[in-house]
């Protein structure tokens, strides 16, 4: 298995009396650049330190106009990490393809990161969250079509000799000839996050990419989701490699269970009550009717519906406790879900630097080695093209 440190780079300076959404319309007068300067550098330090702690990689992602994660360009973060680290994978999970026009830009920037890092990029492609379609005024009814065409452009740019061309409905490129090209051949490993839509799973399965479960759900929901993904791979005619799936979950480790909850709980609720509101907005056309029906069924299994700490613990919305407790839960759940990638959110919301550091160190010292003993240390998922 592989273990990643995933960072959202949350904004911690919302006024105490603000109870509106953290997305789309959250007033940007709340953004304090002096705090921004501190946060970006602290968060980058936390990610760089992950290499020293022995993580297999780090993850960054893209969101716009919000306080949940101030990372509109994960590629900027990834390019810094490419220079400041030597060994780890750098997973950008991902670029919201329909927001780039032309999407050639993604092929270029990802290839740059892969070159600078010497072939350590994991290329994540996402449709983008619902709020992104408001924030960028991109038509959500065209999201899936644009995603598909953008994906085809990027893979073509990376794998076919240029100059070539791409003629689609949304993008027409007469001279597709991307410089640079990625180090990894035929192209970097591709990760695609999904919330359970069958269309997405079938696509990921057919391409032999890796499927990342959209986070903050009850463990039973993930179990169902990864089961559905395995079925999609079977429909495509093969048994999936565990490295083709990944579970993203908040993790917090302290010396004892009591101390862990005491230190962590307020930050978890800050995340749920202050940073998540607004993330769920689903613009019309963004999701197919069939998927909406599925998603509505999952709402009761999403963290916003959770009211008590006991529910958090029971549903494994976060794994919190002593090293022994965290190890025991992770072993059981990784086994149950059959995932080969564990994506831990070690920093969450207002969790301060010292606690984040202590938790991440404890995890790497006392939990990570045991997980590796149990599940192995697969180095990489070989990129295979669908036959």
């Amino acid at each position: 298995m592989r273990i990643f440190n995933f960072h959202l780079m949350p904004y911690t300076g919302l006024p105490d009396d603000y109870d509106g959404p953290a997305w789309i319309t959250c007033p940007n007068e709340f953004f304090d650049p002096a705090l921004g300067n501190k946060l970006y550098n602290r968060y980058l330090d936390e990610l760089v330190y992950s290499e020293e702690l022995g993580f297999d990689g780090v993850c960054v992602n893209e969101h716009h106009q919000n306080a949940y994660g101030i990372m509109p360009s994960p590629n900027l973060m990834a390019s810094i990490l490419a220079r400041q680290t030597k060994r780890m994978k750098i997973a950008v999970v991902g670029n919201a393809l329909p927001l780039y026009n032309p999407p050639t830009r993604v092929a270029e920037e990802f290839a740059m990161i892969d070159n600078i890092s010497g072939g350590r990029l994991i290329a994540g492609f996402v449709v983008g969250g619902g709020p992104e379609y408001y924030s960028f005024s991109i038509n959500p009814a065209h999201a899936r079509e644009r995603f598909q065409e953008a994906h085809d452009i990027i893979i073509k740019a990376w794998t076919e000799p240029g100059p070539t061309e791409f003629m689609g409905k949304h993008y027409q490129l007469r001279f597709l000839n991307t410089w640079p090209k990625p180090v990894q051949k035929p192209h970097p490993e591709v990760w695609i996050p999904g919330a359970g839509s069958l269309e997405t799973m079938d696509f990921v399965a057919q391409k032999r990419y890796a499927y990342m479960g959209i986070p903050y759900f009850h463990i039973d929901f993930f179990d169902r989701t990864f089961g559905m993904f395995r079925e999609a791979c079977e429909r495509a005619g093969y048994e999936p490699d565990p490295l083709q799936s990944g579970w993203l979950v908040p993790i917090y480790v302290a010396e004892t269970d009591e101390l862990a909850r005491q230190q962590y709980e307020e930050h978890f609720w800050y995340f749920v009550k202050r940073l998540l509101p607004g993330i769920n907005i689903s613009p019309p056309g963004y999701t197919s009717l069939r998927s909406i029906e599925n998603i509505l069924k999952g709402f009761g299994m999403w963290v916003s519906s959770v009211k008590t700490w006991e529910e958090v613990v029971d549903g494994q919305y976060a794994i919190v406790g002593s090293p022994a407790t965290v190890l025991e839960k992770l072993e059981a759940s990784v086994e149950r879900l059959g995932v080969g990638n564990l994506l831990g959110l070690f920093q969450l919301a207002t969790l301060p630097a010292d606690l984040t550091r202590n938790s991440t160190e404890l995890f790497s010292r006392e939990v990570m080695p045991r997980l590796r003993e149990r599940f192995g240390t697969d180095a990489a998922l070989a990129v295979k093209e669908a036959v």
Binding site: P284, G285, L296
Partner: protein, 272 residues
């Protein structure tokens, strides 16, 4: 007033089968619905059928009408309407449109002036008027929408929207079933294809309105909270000879709020 029943059927078009409400006799009057997809049980159509043959197609993506995936923008919408007119043998009918339907009617009337004999725009969308933005329809609660759409919140449809809002507020999204919201999701999805961005307007439309030759009536709802009156006023100013009427004690959904009065104003105008 005796009413002439409008009945529901379907008609095959280039993009698929679409629903069509039809009734009455005499000169053809086409009604184009708003982004709400109003149609079912719309007494207004019965009232309007006193004045001619009413033809009210349900646009692809709304109700059970097919083919929205083949329509990406307002230009495609106009071509769909032309196709529909041809199949219905409509040479140059009167065209009445509410809101989104008004936008479509205006696009049709300036691009193909010979296909529209009378044009009635009711709280029409379609324009950008600086300082008079159309309020958001894609991200607000049913309660907020009801306040914009209805002058009288006791209107049955407004009451339904408030009920929906209450369910979500008190019971969370989990208390809503898929079947309850399916028609609304379909209506908003189809509307988004046409009007997500640019938001419910075509930046080119205003400069083309001089081409409209149909005799035109613009009707503003006095208390419309969705589309400011400056939009109707701009249409009336840019279309040669257009007449502007403001109806009192109504907001946006005039066909649901004062069906009889709207039918009379419209019917008498197109009959002249």
């Amino acid at each position: 007033m005796t009413t002439t029943a409008v009945s529901l059927g379907t008609i095959e078009t280039r993009v698929g089968s679409v629903e069509l409400r039809r009734g009455g006799t005499g000169q053809p009057i086409v009604y184009l619905h708003s982004a709400a997809g109003e149609g079912l049980g719309l007494g207004f159509l019965d009232d309007l059928a006193q004045y001619g043959e009413v033809l009210a197609p349900i646009f692809p993506g709304f109700g059970e009408s097919e083919g929205i995936e083949q329509i990406d923008d307002i230009e495609d919408a106009v071509f769909h309407l032309l196709d529909l007119f041809d199949r219905l043998g409509l040479d140059s009918p009167a065209v009445v449109g509410l809101s989104l339907g008004g936008w479509m009617a205006a696009e049709l009337a300036c691009r193909y002036p010979d296909r529209v004999s009378r044009l009635v725009l009711v709280n029409p969308a379609g324009l950008y008027v600086p300082g008079a933005n159309i309020h958001d329809i894609f991200g607000r609660t049913p309660r907020e929408m009801a306040a914009d759409l209805f002058a009288d919140q006791s209107n049955p449809i407004a009451q339904m929207m408030l009920q929906m809002d209450k369910l979500v507020t008190e019971g969370g999204v989990g208390s809503i079933t898929f079947d309850m919201i399916k028609p609304q999701i379909k209506a908003m999805t189809a509307s988004a294809r046409l009007g997500w961005n640019p938001y419910l307007h075509n930046p080119k439309l205003q400069g083309r309105l001089w081409r409209v030759t149909a005799r035109t009536l613009v009707i503003n709802g006095e208390k419309d909270g969705l589309i400011p009156s400056a939009h109707g006023e701009t249409y009336a100013r840019e279309i040669a000879g257009a007449k502007l009427v403001t109806m009192t004690d109504v907001a946006h959904m005039i066909p649901l709020e004062k069906p009889g009065e709207l039918a009379q104003v419209t019917g008498e105008f197109v009959g002249n």
